[in-house]
Structure formats: structure tokens, C-alpha cells
Symmetry: D2
Subunit: 338 residues, 4 copies
């Protein structure tokens, strides 16, 4: 079986197990007051080239919803793309953790927000009217749920517009490393340099076991998150174990290597599909693509042993991961041809 269902169906990178083994001995302070957690804090500040605060969590939903709850008042709205994961795949977790904030979806262009549409949304807002949820946070997904990647100047334009209206800026980075790899830029370029204040740093899809993180560059937000995470049950007592996974992930460009492999596998796959006349959405630049594939072709491919999700009749979603090999891709393409 070749698995293109998601990048969370793979296991963990081998270095993760090694990292867990390395820190498991002896006693250490609990709830994140340990040396491994301290090392992770330093690592994150180094990787992002400024003081940063990192909070390991067990899922992207936790990272998104709790990170957003530190930015958005209960009477606020989080503005996002209508296909954003926080809006359609997290069961309104953000509404729960914020105390009832709204999730305001814009149609955008493909899976990406545009400044024109954001501007229109903000212009039609009744600012200061308590009948209306007040736009308080802009949440951008990078890479998007459909594999598109915003250019840096697009992010700057979006965040500048949002911040000019007093909004905060959140980045859902479930596939942050894949975006970094696609743009070949620094983590700082893709976050605080383009106005991002809180980042959901995905790691599980790209190699760890069960360790994602919230990263913020704002000390006041960090203070608040300490409380919000504890009472959400998201502070592991043996904090060294998630910290070790994340520290290993961010060391020696491992996360970028993994993401490059995933993106490369997708590039190979989409090139092969295009050769066979099946053209993916050209916006896809990372490790996920939506491809028009006739229903019978898709069905035959699935029966031949390739796993993927059909999104709607005639369109399939394909995802590669750090674990996808060139051989996997070639085998899948061969199964399609036959």
C-alpha cells in the first residue's frame, strides 16, 4: 500500500525515538521546569532569531484554538479563509476556548486569502457596534490546506492591513516547514518579520510523534498561555518528552530536510501526473495537492493499492510526507498507468 491520505499517517522520524531515549533517564523537574524544556526554549529563540516562547502541545487543534484564545476576546471574530482548518475541521474549538468568538470565513482566491477581500470585509464591519463580533485576529494558514504557499510580500500585505485595524496576526503552520522549504527562507522571515505574533508550529505531520507547539514572540501572550494551557490540560507533567521531540526536530535542519523530502516527493508525483494528463491545481507548492482525476481512474488507482481521499467527484487529494520515497511515487505512478 502506498499512502497519500495524509502526512499524519506516517510514523515518526527515527531521530525522535533516539531523542526520547536520550532524556528518559534520571529524575527531573516536572511541568516544563526541566533542562530539556529550557534547551528547547533556547533552541526556538535561536531558530527564530529573537526571543521567542514555545509551548508544546499534543495537536494542531490545541495549538490553534488555545493560541487564538490568547489573541481574541470573547466578543471578537477570527477572520480566516473559508476552507481554514480552524473553521471546518476543528469542531469550533476556537469558539470554545475563546468563550464564544466567531470564525469568519472569506472566500479568497483558491485556498488563499487576498488583501482585496480582507479589506472589503474590514470595510463593511460595523466597528464598535456591540451587535457584531469584532474582527480581532487574522489567521492565515501557511502552507494552506490545499498546498498553496503565500509569498512573503503577500503575508506582509495581509498582516499590515489587519494590524492597521488593531487586529492581531496568527499563522496556522500545520505545514510550516513545508512552506519554509518551498520558499527557501528563514523561519523569522515567515513569522515576525511579516507581522505574525503567534504561530501554530506543526511538527507531528513532519516527523514527531505527538508534539506540536505554540510559538509566540509576545511576552504578554506567553504569560497568558501558561495559564490557558494548564487549565486546558495541555501541560504534560513529564515535559521533557515532548520538549525532546521538538528540540530534536529543530536541530541541524532536520525539520527542513524532512519537509524538503515531502515537497520533493509531491513535485515528483505531480510532474508524473501531469505527464499522464492529470494536472494538479497549479497553486500547490508544498506537499499536498488537489488533482482532477476521472472517477473511474481514481477508483482503479485505489484498487491497485494507492490510498488517498476523494474530495468530491472527479477530484482527489494527495499528500506526501517525510516518509514518502521516490520509489513510492514511481510505484504509484506506475499503478496509475497500467
Amino acid at each position: 500500500m502506498i499512502d497519500f491520505r495524509s502526512d499524519n499517517t506516517a510514523g515518526a522520524e527515527p531521530y525522535v525515538l533516539e531523542a526520547l531515549a536520550a532524556v528518559g533517564h534520571g529524575s527531573s523537574a516536572s511541568y516544563g521546569d526541566d533542562d530539556v524544556s529550557a534547551a528547547l526554549q533556547r533552541r526556538v529563540s535561536e531558530v527564530f532569531e529573537r526571543e521567542a516562547f514555545v509551548f508544546p502541545v499534543v495537536s494542531g487543534t490545541a495549538a490553534n484554538a488555545i493560541g487564538l484564545s490568547a489573541l481574541c476576546p470573547p466578543w471578537g471574530a477570527v477572520v480566516c479563509h473559508e476552507s481554514a482548518h480552524i473553521r471546518v475541521n476543528e469542531a469550533a474549538a476556537t469558539s470554545m476556548f475563546t468563550g464564544g468568538a466567531a470564525l469568519l470565513g472569506l472566500a479568497g482566491q483558491g485556498s488563499r486569502l487576498t488583501t482585496a477581500e480582507l479589506a472589503a470585509c474590514l470595510d463593511r464591519t460595523a466597528w464598535g457596534d456591540p451587535h457584531v463580533s469584532q474582527p480581532s485576529v487574522l489567521s492565515v494558514t501557511q502552507a494552506t490546506e490545499m498546498g498553496a504557499v503565500y509569498a512573503l510580500d503577500e503575508l506582509t500585505a495581509l498582516s499590515s492591513l489587519a494590524r492597521s485595524r488593531g487586529m492581531r496576526v496568527h499563522l496556522d503552520g500545520a505545514r510550516f516547514a513545508n512552506a519554509l522549504a518551498a520558499l527557501d527562507c528563514a523561519p523569522a522571515d515567515l513569522t515576525w518579520r511579516v507581522g505574525v505574533e503567534v504561530l501554530s508550529l506543526g511538527a507531528t505531520k513532519n516527523g514527531t510523534m505527538t508534539a506540536d507547539a505554540i510559538v509566540t514572540f509576545d511576552a504578554a501572550v506567553a504569560d497568558e498561555l501558561r495559564y490557558r494551557l494548564k487549565r486546558a490540560g495541555h501541560v504534560a507533567s513529564k515535559g521533557r518528552f515532548p520538549a525532546a521531540q521538538l528540540d530534536a526536530y529543530l536541530t541541524d535542519d532536520r525539520w527542513l530536510d524532512s519537509a524538503r523530502r515531502a515537497n520533493g516527493a509531491m513535485a515528483r508525483l505531480t510532474a508524473g501526473l501531469a505527464e499522464r494528463g492529470y494536472h494538479p491545481d497549479p497553486a500547490a507548492q508544498a506537499n499536498i495537492a488537489f488533482v482532477a482525476l476521472p472517477e473511474d481512474v481514481a477508483a482503479a488507482w485505489g484498487e491497485a493499492g494507492v490510498q488517498f481521499y476523494g474530495i468530491e467527484p472527479g477530484v482527489v487529494r494527495l499528500v506526501t510526507s517525510w516518509a514518502t520515497t521516490a520509489a513510492d511515487v514511481d510505484a504509484a505512478l506506475a499503478l496509475l498507468s497500467s
Copy 2:
């Protein structure tokens, strides 16, 4: 350094790493739809001798607060001991997840609830009066936060009383295995046979890395928990990893072996302390004890290299774990003598 600060300062049992390694290969369905998670469900039903539903979570706070939220309406109160972890050490997480329920603490006897006091509380309740939070759940901690263990008939009496008033019954089993080991009874004896409907099954303190669980015997509660956990961000995408930890934990009585070691170390420690004239609270039967120790003695012991928490002047809290050896205990006692 000999560490008696808590049972969460130890690392993980060696079998945990092996279990993680064993399941990390190949692709598998995400969000708990994998074979390892299915095996864990079967294991739990077998261990508890009836159909049971298990939900891995990353902390005891998550297990308690989210488990309780499926039992207690927003206008309800959770009745517990005034020293209960849910009331004093979880930052009102239960109030958050229930939508604002109250935590009603009773003084009890030592760290244990008594039926007399529970009865008095229920008798003075204005049932049906919407001005007053309605007692809706009884939450008992077993073993208690001070190491006491309820006898089975005490649990039956408490739960029967609660259920006679329409209340549900929750057990905070952060140290469930230690209680099992102390009572030498079956998991079923300590849960549904004495009226418990939802169990917070602690595992991290007793050997896993970051895997605790909610166990329920009520299918309707289980249905609700699926939604509640997802939107709380407590569903790991690579569900096999927490499931593997818990399945290994419950296999071949490993959890009981670990708990017996912890309890045994504490028995050795308290016996040694008693020989030296320092008598622990006699209620302590598991792996945690509060001991009266003169301040200067405690200070000297700490300086000699034994770690523990002072609870108040003249009283220290000592905790042993699966990792505490007889040699650790003896060395600690020797340091006290000198």
C-alpha cells in the same frame, strides 16, 4: 540526588520506549482509527472485565476536567474533598470545560470523604433551586492526594449515596494502580463494581511518558467524549503512539508491578522513618506520605541531597515511584540519620 518530590519526576519505564519503537513503522490511519488504538480498546475491556471505552489524553488534568464535563451540567456542582486535585491544583479546569460548574469541597476525614459529611452536604442542598449550583457529580480520588486509600465498602457507600440523589460518580485515579496494589483487588472492583462511571486512569506517574486516559463504562458518555476531546485538542493525530504506551502499560500486569514497587519503596521509607521517630500520617497506604519532620531536620536532609516538598512548617511530603529503589530509600534514611 534522591528524588521524593513527586512520582512524575521519574522518566519512563523501559518498556514504553520499546512499545513506541514497535509501532512506529509503516503508515496507519490517524485520529485513533488505527490497529494499536483498537487493541487498546480491547485491552481495557479485558482488564476491566466488561465493555469499556478508553480515551488517551496527555495529562491528568485533561482526564479529570474533560471526563467531568461529560457528567456535570453547567449549572451543576462537582462534590469532592477540599484537598482534591481538581479543586486546588488544576486552575479550575473543570469549571472551564463544564461551562462554569462549581467545585464544592468537603472537609472530610484527613484526605478522605466520609458518607456522613456527604450526606450532610446533600441534605442541606436546595435541590431544584436555580439560585444554587446543583450537586451533580461525586468525584473521589483513589489513592488520595495524601496517600490514603478508600476501602471498597467505603467507595460503595459514597457512590450509593450520591447515586440515590441522581448524581454521577467519577474517580480521579491519578494513582489508581497504587490503590489497586494497596488493596490487592481487581480494576473492576475499584470502578464499576463500586459505582464508578468515569475513571481518570493515571499512567504517567506510574511509568508512561505522556499518556493518561479517561475510561468510561457508559456508552453515552463515550459518545460525548469523542466530541469533547476533539475540540479540546486532545485527540493526537498519530493515535498509535499514546495507545501503544497505554497498551504496554496494561499488559502482563506491568502497571501493577510498577505500583507495587512504588508502594513498597514508600513502606520501606516510612518504616525507616518510624524507626527514627518520625511517624507518617497512618492513613498513607500507597506511594505518598506526609510526615512530621522538625524544620531543622528537614533542612539538613535536603542539604544532604534528598529532594522533597515542604508542605507547611514541620511537615514534608514524600513520594516514591516505580523508579525508586530500595537502595535509594536506604541511602535516604542513612542521610537522615547522620
Copy 3:
């Protein structure tokens, strides 16, 4: 000044003051345990031709959000028209009171939901998938926010479809009396006979001072509402005063008389506008209409002393109330002509 801004800009019907004066003497039990409140309960059951439970509240937002919170679990979604007041004008109050439920807006036809679109929505729902807010309540506004009125068989079709999927049915009756008057049917016909379980009974727009109500036909919902309303601060200590307003409102068809006057004024107004070439949305059958009016014409009308809200360039919203007289309408039309 002639005021077509809203039906909540009028004062109160004269009988309201008389009713308040009539019950203000002597002492009486508080929090709704008084005779006036009991009389209101009987009145509502009589008016709705079956056992009904009524809870006075101070606003339509309270009626909607708290009524819905008794029907929708935190992980649920309330399905409504995209222009529904609960979705766009109540600052996500429903999300707050439900503990974070989603408000799912459908485009509908004009301001009305259609069974076709509701069916499509329910068909594309991933039922049972905890990633997705589960459609749990259908909320219909009658008359709609744009003055349209659903026929009884349309309501039956919508509610039957919803209930076939396990959903509950809520009616936002901010202008319930106007709909009754438009359809010339019984209150029972417009509620439980067409599947409505909880009604937001608007009264303030149609004559009371500050008294709306939740009406339910489900005793279990009523039990829950008693608690939910108390802790939302919506139980007036001197319950006789809101109860007296509502009881007077429902007596001797006063509410219908008031609504007929409002609807009649709007019919006169829209007929006059049509004569002058300005045609309202033909769906408008109650006391609110959206009319295409050139911007310069609207501006001149406003300067001449007629108050109304512009909705978008070229469209104005006009609302009449129980207090609008034929003379007001004629005067307004005269001002438009000149």
C-alpha cells in the same frame, strides 16, 4: 419626524403601563413564584392550546441564545439562514451560551431557508465525525429579518427534515405576532403543530416595554432553562412586572391587534411606494420591507423628516410598528412625492 427605523423605537402600548400599575401594590413572592407569573403560565398554555412553559427575558438576544443553549450541545451547530439575527446581529451570543457551538448560515432564497438547501447541507455533513460541528438545531426566523413569512407547509417541511436527522427546532419569533397576523393562523399552528420546540416570543417590538419570552413545549427543556436563565442573570427578582406586561400583551388578542396595525401600515406604505414606482421586495408580508430607492430620492426623503436605515446604496429598510398610523404613512408618502 416619522420613524421607520425599527419597531423597537416606539414606546409601549398604553395597556402596558396600566398592567404594571395594576400589579405594583402589596408584597408578593419573588423570582417568578408570584400570582402574576402563574397567571402568565396559564395564559400561555391557553393561547398555545397545550401545556407550555414561558420564561420572560429582557431581550430577543437573551431569548434566542439561551433558548438555543438548551437545545444545542457545545459541539453542535445551529443551522440558520445566513442573514439570521442570531448569526449576524447578536455578537455570537449563541456561541457563548452553548459553550462554543457554531452558527452555520445557509444562503436560502431571499431571506428564507429552503428545504433543498437544508437537505444539501445535511447531506454533506460528516455525521459522527468529531472534527466537524454536528448540526443539532434548525433555527428559523418567522417573520424573517426582511419581512418574509414562511407558509405553514414550508415550516413543516423544514422541521420534518431537521427532525429526521435528530435535530431540534427553534423559531426566532422576534416578529411572531406579525407573522400570525399575516398568516391569520393560530399560535399553535405556527409552533408545535409545525414541529417547533422552542420559541423566542418577541413582544417588545410589538408593544411591551422590555419583556420578551422563551416559550417551550418540552418539559425537560423547561427544567434546564430554569437553571440557565438564573445563572445568565435573566430572572427578575420582581417577576410580576415582566409577567404582567406579557400577560396583558397576550390578553384579548391585543398582540394580534397591534401586529395587524403594524402590518397594515406597511401594506399601505408599500402600496403607496409602488404607486410612485418604488417596488419593495415582494416577499415582504409583515411589517418590514426592503425597497429599492435611488440614493438621491432616499436622501431627500430623509432630509424631509422620514427616518430609516439605508442597507446598501440604493436600498432602504422600512419598518412599521403598532404605533405607526395611517396618517404617518400618508405624510411620509407625501414627503416622498414632493
Copy 4:
């Protein structure tokens, strides 16, 4: 029947009906944008001798819980007396509106908080520890639930202590006018001059129909309250009606006159009881008193036609109001003697 059950069993002062009648004519802007509401804002600033912001609400529970929600973060605790209304009689409304904050009750002296006990509470707090709800607001009831009245310097001492630890200060003034009358001081003396930032201004118990209010001296809190009240359903569309009640209440010292009558009636009652050998708690200085009365005496009094609540065997609670006359008191005393 002579009614000493509560001060909310009386009707409304005659001037209230007059005020409602006076503002009921003509159309006016809704949701508080009307002239009557503007006049109330000016009145409140004048009465409190500085810029103040007033928000009418329909109950004391709404005033308390929503006012506190603007001061206390979700992870905070509101510190109050263990008998505080917010803690024992509002069904944890404050926990709901804050998003799960804790209500931390201190034993105090009688029904009053002491600085010694508050200091001890704050000293034992683990500040900054996310396991523990952080004391964030001090809520004082004046007059207390048992009729005691804090001296101004006591309030200053309590609020100074709280504010020295970064806490905000709230006053539950369900019987604020009675306290003012008892102390014969200015409203400013009893609020911002002693450090109070948000006041629940009770009015219903002292003469209005269904109009209490939140008053704050902090513009940022006021901004937040506008949103919080709207989505709680506590913004009446015809804002002139609650505003008119409150404006009339605060005009020409009417509120003080009403409170003086209530307090005077209680003084007459307790003096008469003392003459007969039944001594009330000497702390009672306002319009509520707890009196030790043998059970048979109390029963006979009740049968003779005097209404009151028994608090526990041998103790009754007596409350007078603006409507209680000297004749009522004398008649009640006569019924006791016989």
C-alpha cells in the same frame, strides 16, 4: 400579612411608574442611544462626582457576574466572603461569564471580610503558578448579606491590600443605598474613593421594578462591558425604560429616602425585638438582620401572619424595605408579644 421575607417582595415606588409614563411617548433610538439613557449617564457621573459609566441590567446576578467578568481572567479567582451572594446564591454565574474563574470564599468575621484573613489568603497563594487560580478580584458586599456595614477605612484597607497584589476591586451593592444611609456618606466615598472600580448598583430591592445597574469608573472596563452585556442579552432594545427607572431613582435623593425608611424600619423592629429579649446580631446596621428566636416563638409569629425565612433552627432572617411602615413594624411586634 406583614412581609419581612426580603426587600424584593415589595412592589415599585410610585415615582417609578410616573417615570415610565413620562418617557413612553414618541419614538426614540434603541439600544441605549436615546436621550433618557444619556441623561442617566450624566446623572450617575454627577451623583458619583466624577466620570462614571452606567449599564442598566435586569438583576443583581447580571450586574455581579458580568461586571466581574470584565475584571477577572478565566484563570483568575474572585476572592469574597464565604457567604457572599455571588458564591452561594447565583449558581456560579460568575464562573460561567468569566470562562471558568473560581470563587474563593473566606470565613471572615461574621459576614464581613477582614484584612487579616485576606492577607493570609494572599500570602499562601502560589502567585504565578498556573496550577492555581490566581486571585484577581476582591469582591466586597456592602451592606453585607447579613446586614453588616463596613466602615470606610475598612474598605480602604481591604482594597489597598488587594490592589497591592494587582487585584481589581468590585463592590456588590445590592443594598448600596442602605449602606450609604447607614454611613451617611457620599456615593463617591463608598466607591472610587475607597478603591472600588466596578459597582453592582442595586436598585430593585430599594424601589425600582426591574432595573439594577453596573457602574464603573474605568473607561476600558466600560468599553468591554458594552460587548459583554450585548452578547449576554442584557441590552434592552427600548433602553429608555430601564434608564428612566434608574434616573428617577437617583434624582432628588429618592434612593436615600427609600433606604432611610427601610433602615429605620429595621432599627425600630430590632429595638422592639430587643425589648422583648430577642437580640439581633449587633453587626446589623442596614435593613436586614438575623435574630435568634426560639423555634416555637418563630412558628407562632409566622402563624399570626408575619412572613420571614428561617435560616437555621432558632435563627430567623428579617428584612425591611422602603415599603415597610412603622405601623407594619409595630403590628408585627404586637403579634410577637401576644
